[in-house]
Subunit: 293 residues, 3 copies
């Protein structure tokens, strides 16, 4: 265990997850990794996804907040979905009980930090970061190249997020390059509305298999409940809750608790997306079933 | 060398290949890797492909059986193409002379195991796996999270395949979490039909470059043979066997032995897929050439 | 530091970058990595991109030459974009002051080598490479498999580039498997034309965000300059140079210095590609602004 300036421990795991909207076609993801590994050769970088829709903060927040717990304690979670790059938005590092989160302060970290919180929030001071890099890593050609060129207007991922991530991964003290601050910009995932007779939620993610992931958590659902989906202003009955895909015939829809621990609507060996012509934001209605019915 | 309960050695390579139909847009691949690395931090995970068509067992079997030999002896090959997730299908680990294969028992492992075989087959006992994880890794927050939530109905990759893979990668004994069983579910890749005058095969894979990979192995082909492709019930002559793309003019088709050691139909600096409007399943006919002709 | 036969040092970084046109859907990228890791288990392979358009040497050259400096000194940069696979084109390894480059001698390495040059160029001798593999690594099953099958006509990436890369990564002497040669095949990225009143350049890359990356370097541009784009033979005014995206309203176009240190045309939170219906090769014109105007 290494204790840094503020007394936070950085566990010796050197694991970095990386979530972005960079895609995999351009060399951007590779360059961010190159910079991290130049400064922190011991880092192990795992891609969560780089296929976030450009600038879609809700999608990134949903991906991160559902995934971060599946990485070992001490992991640094780096998120770069940053439509405000080059504006006054801050860059933050947040220390929660189990993880460090690094990203732009545009709300993208908020949900995950809430779930692991409370977190201590630090705001990057670019000049002090570059001074520390100069002091500690000026023998490194990558660091010298970045310091010489300065921060680009368009690619803070490579020029600021990656050096900050690597600096922390190398065990250097966060307090030397960032200042404590009070609050993160808040971005709440939409929450379902509950009445005595119903729960009204939404599709908040659609995956490769065409599954419709909703924001309705497991504990608002009983096995007798009836699930409806509203498509183009018409309510369609999906059915009662199932336990597995195979409870319905191939090609038939079903509702079950998915891997995000929320209600999912799926089609056995098919795509619920196509079956209902549904997409993110569509409404989901649950009518509470009476036990014994 | 580490010997496990059943006397099988696990070579100290810690290399895991990962083939799935998860795609790279969703966080699923990252979560599987997170769980593996939480339990077996020494694992090195190499992606074969995650772009298997959802549920396409033949495509996954073809990818795996052509690739597994290019990884060093002792590698664990993890395949998650699992349309029957949540049903009664078993999860198996197979020890062949050089490799360990982990996947659902739906046929996807059969061809590769045949080629490296004979294999000793073990069927996962989920309860014993979770008990072993509890006993050995309960200080790990990821393991605790999985044990608390139990197995999801829809994502055995994260909740069962990844822990089993990591457990084996960490050198723990397979016999403690799985029972020997007799046979794998069989899924044969289509085989060509040979007569004295001809060989009739099929396109079984089309790659990014538009190459048509067939199931006709090198040893059924002579250099004098004439190759035909049947598209929309019409036979088109591709030509005699070539050694390299450059033997024909740019934009012209050719037949040669490809990197899977089978007949491939290609277009020099072009796409045979587009040239012939061909796809998986199309018939390929070889008429045996007379030597000296 | 390890000194090889020719006195070049191979720094102990074991970092390999990998750029190709293989895509991620086929198992080709995984197989190349498998072969590298079989021979050089200490290698760490970072993907730059595998989404180069099949055979597009200019695009690969642009990606590599913009990215190579963001990897630590001593990194080996492997590029496999090789439309002439199986013809007489050579395979080369180039030692520049900071890096080793491996690729086909078709021009794809030229720009990057120029930028880090001068480089010492070596041409692979396949027979000597295979003899060295036989001598040093014949206990390895992957090496044995490759030596037994010989070089395929279509996949030199797996059968030649990967073994050469791994051989170098393992610290073996380049001179034992390759001969010095004089010159690389030259492939220049298009250069802008400068007059007293104007600079005429081109779009040479379009990224995922729809940014139009041009070949006009920072030092040919002043802040007062007016930027035009020629689309379907009509000149459209983009505007004067901006520093950041946020200087214009959302949905409006702007010109700024991008992360390649060249002029980029972008749309704030939108796609310049779509805004102008522009693509690679389109002309960009800069009219020199008068200071104080």
């Amino acid at each position: 265990l290494i204790f840094d300036f503020y007394g936070y421990y950085i566990r010796d795991v050197h694991l970095v997850t990386f979530t972005s909207d960079f895609g995999l076609s351009d060399p951007y993801v590779g360059e961010v990794k190159g910079v991290i590994l130049a400064i922190a050769p011991e880092a192990r970088i795992i891609d969560v996804t780089h296929d976030i829709e450009p600038g879609n903060l809700l999608q990134a927040s949903f991906a991160l907040s559902g995934s971060f717990r599946y990485f070992t304690e001490g992991t640094l979670h780096l998120v770069i979905v940053d439509p405000g790059v080059g504006t006054g938005r801050d860059i933050v590092a947040v220390r929660t009980p189990r993880f460090t989160f690094v990203g732009p302060d545009n709300g993208v970290l908020w949900e995950a930090v809430q779930r692991d919180g409370p977190g201590e929030i630090f705001m990057l001071d670019t000049e002090r970061l570059y001074a520390e890099l100069q002091r500690r890593h000026s023998d490194n050609t990558v660091v010298r190249h970045i310091l010489k060129n300065g921060t680009s207007a368009t690619f803070h991922g490579r020029d600021l997020f990656a050096p900050l991530t690597a600096y922390l991964c190398a065990g250097h003290p966060l307090g030397a390059v960032a200042d404590p601050c009070e609050e993160l910009v808040k971005l709440m995932l939409p929450v379902p509305v509950k009445t005595e007779q119903s729960v009204a939620g939404r599709v908040i993610y659609t995956d490769r298999f065409g599954n419709l992931v909703t924001n309705i958590p497991r504990d608002l659902i009983n096995h007798n409940d009836e699930v409806f989906i509203k498509v183009k202003n018409e309510l369609a009955l999906v059915g009662r809750m199932s336990h597995t895909y195979a409870e319905v015939h191939q090609g038939e829809p079903l509702a079950l608790i998915g891997s995000r621990n929320t209600l999912e609507i799926a089609v056995n060996r098919g795509s619920a997306c196509e079956y209902y012509d549904a997409s993110n934001g569509d409404e989901i209605l649950i009518l509470k079933g009476k036990r014994g019915q």
